[in-house]
């Protein structure tokens, strides 16, 4: 007599529990109110994020050149195509190169600067302004400035090299130097944001902890390592998560500084590659597959950070 399976029973029980829960008129009103408060944001999210994700997923299994209008289902074709050709791997390599160079440098430098600023030195406001100027500036404008600075013939960068007796470089036209040059600009632009976040985090740490450590005879390095660093770990974790998500999607700066993806494709990152597939080559299906590969990488990295780094974060 197993007409009702376990799962059905479970579902039925859940529904009946919900019905019982909602028998109370106040609870019904609360549910209705909740749904109404959420509706504007939820519907926007549904139509412009959630459904597009589903639709992009379906798109990634089809071959579709937008100009030709017909769309054919090709299963994993796009993924196999992408994963078996060296192009995508080069792009992934470039994306990793960008992130691995930028994130550690950015975090170390911004923390160092924030620590110095937190010592109540004179001119704090002035320094903070300087670091923050690139942050609020438009990425296109600053990329244009840096393109000019990196000009191989009349640029400031080479003038500086000459000043310290080094040979001139071609910067953005040099396959080896193009990516580091782009990273330097990303670092320059993003540093101030992380400085401000770190500084706010440092100011949130009660002074008594450091004072107590000092009375116990801890030196500066010990105070940093055993008091400040653990108490700052939630901020570090936030900065790390945001940096990874942003670095893997970088596009604007690279698109303005190296409109063709750099010499020999040396600055072509995932965001750029997807844009090229879709809007220069009109392979929407393949672009969708590449976008999902990017999505998978971001999700995996976030999950790894939650698994391995979050347990080491000290929440008060």
């Amino acid at each position: 007599m197993t007409l009702i399976t376990k799962r059905q029973l479970f579902r039925w029980r859940a529904i009946s529990e919900l019905v019982r829960y909602l028998r109370h008129p106040l609870r019904r009103r609360e549910l209705l109110a909740g749904l109404m408060f959420i509706a504007p944001s939820f519907l926007t999210l549904l139509f412009f994020v959630i459904l597009p994700v589903v639709s992009a997923f379906l798109l990634s299994f089809s071959e579709w050149e937008v100009l030709s209008k017909d769309r054919t289902f090709i299963g994993l074709g796009n993924y196999i195509d992408l994963l078996t050709k060296p192009e995508l791997w080069k792009v992934i390599h470039n994306t990793l190169y960008f992130s691995m160079l930028k994130i550690p440098l950015d975090m170390a430098l911004s923390l160092a600067i924030a620590l110095l600023l937190n010592r109540k030195l004179r001119g704090l406001a002035l320094y903070r302004t300087a670091y923050f100027m690139p942050v609020i500036s438009s990425v296109v404008a600053v990329s244009a400035i840096w393109r000019w600075i990196y000009n191989p013939y009349f640029g400031l960068a080479n003038a500086l090299l000459k000043l310290i007796g080094l040979p001139p470089q071609t910067w953005l036209s040099d396959p080896k130097l193009a990516m580091p040059a782009v990273v330097l600009v990303a670092l320059w632009k993003g540093l101030g944001y992380d400085v401000v976040i770190y500084l706010a985090g440092l100011q949130n740490i009660p002074v008594v902890y450091n004072e107590a450590a000092q009375i116990d005879g801890a030196n500066g390095w010990q105070r940093f390592w055993y008091v400040t660093w653990p108490l700052l770990s939630p901020v570090t974790y936030f900065v790390l998560i945001m940096s990874v998500i942003n670095a893997f999607q970088v596009f604007a700066q690279i698109h303005v500084m190296t409109p063709e993806g750099g010499p020999l494709g040396s600055t072509e990152v995932m965001g750029f590659y997807i844009y090229r597939l879709a809007f220069r080559e009109y392979h929407f299906g393949r672009a969708a597959a590449a976008a999902f590969i990017l999505f998978a990488i971001v999700v995996t990295l976030t999950a790894l950070q939650r698994r391995f780094i979050e347990p080491r974060v000290h929440y008060e």
Binding site: A33, F37, I50, P52, V53, A125, I136, S137, V235
Partner: protein, 276 residues
């Protein structure tokens, strides 16, 4: 001895901070200097920081080459629509997530958070096709509609609302205050710092949007400021004095605003980072 040591360390700190600050500011000064130079002067080597004579006409030339006034209007319209809608929808949803208790609330909230990981490149493709079908390519609708809500803003306001004492709400409710009215007349005024911070954060973020406006606009007169400048940069070739003049045209108001209200800027940004 100890005093001397401290003085040296403070001196070294200043040296480091001044050096890095100079690196931050120098490109801006270089932009201003180039924007005021004549054509022959920008190709001088080694480069000079001060122009021989000031070529103010560079700005007029740049402004006449492309409709920067129109770009400004577009950017202001688009960013304002997006910001107002995002803060409005996020305040409503954030309140529900913080204060109302109903089945499925936490599930929906986790779903919200999960969407934060979706790269713009994923949704961009179907959204482009959708806008095409709606005939919204190259329109204000196309530029704004996909961004009328923000998960980050919802999450941020929820955190803030949750920190406001519940007793306040109980008292107001007993006195017959409805939920919407409570949110509008008590909760939001109490959350002014948070609202200011998230408004600023949203505005700055979307003011600089690049990928979507690049994809969704075709004609010059629908371009936002970043896209307009990008086309200017592409077309100006090696005429760096015009390029820098154009860059300065787009940067000046934001920088001026920043200098006028630095404290609020930095406080606001720090707040979004700490709560988020």
């Amino acid at each position: 001895m100890k005093r001397a040591k401290r003085r040296i360390s403070s001196l070294l700190s200043h040296v480091f901070l001044i050096a890095t600050s100079l690196v931050m500011i120098a490109p801006f000064l270089w932009m201003i200097s180039t924007a005021l130079k004549g054509e022959s002067e920008i190709y001088m080597y080694p480069p000079r920081w001060l122009p021989n004579e000031l070529h103010w006409e560079n700005f007029i030339r740049a402004w006449r080459t492309m409709p920067f006034g129109r770009f400004y209007i577009n950017s202001i319209v688009v960013t304002t629509i997006i910001t107002v809608n995002q803060v409005f929808t996020a305040a409503l949803a954030g309140y529900a997530f913080a204060r109302l208790e109903f089945p499925g609330r936490d599930t929906i909230f986790y779903m919200y958070l999960a969407t934060m990981m979706v790269p713009g490149q994923v949704t961009m493709l179907p959204l482009f096709l959708l806008m095409d079908r709606l005939g919204w390519i190259d329109t204000y609708q196309g530029l704004t509609v996909p961004f009328l809500t923000s998960v980050f803003a919802t999450f941020f306001l929820r955190q803030f609302f949750a920190s406001i004492p519940r007793e306040l709400e109980d008292v107001a409710r007993i006195d017959g205050c409805g939920r919407l009215r409570f949110l509008w007349q008590i909760m939001l005024p109490l959350s002014r710092p948070a609202l200011g911070a998230i408004t600023l954060f949203t505005f700055l973020g979307h003011w600089d949007d690049y990928l979507w406006p690049l994809v969704i606009t075709n004609s010059t007169h629908m371009r936002t400021l970043p896209i307009g400048l990008r086309f200017f940069v592409e077309e100006s070739g090696t005429q760096y004095h015009y390029m820098m003049a154009a860059a300065l045209i787009t940067l000046a108001p934001v920088l001026a605003l920043f200098f006028a209200a630095q404290r609020q800027f930095i406080k606001g940004i720090a707040l979004t980072g700490l709560k988020g």
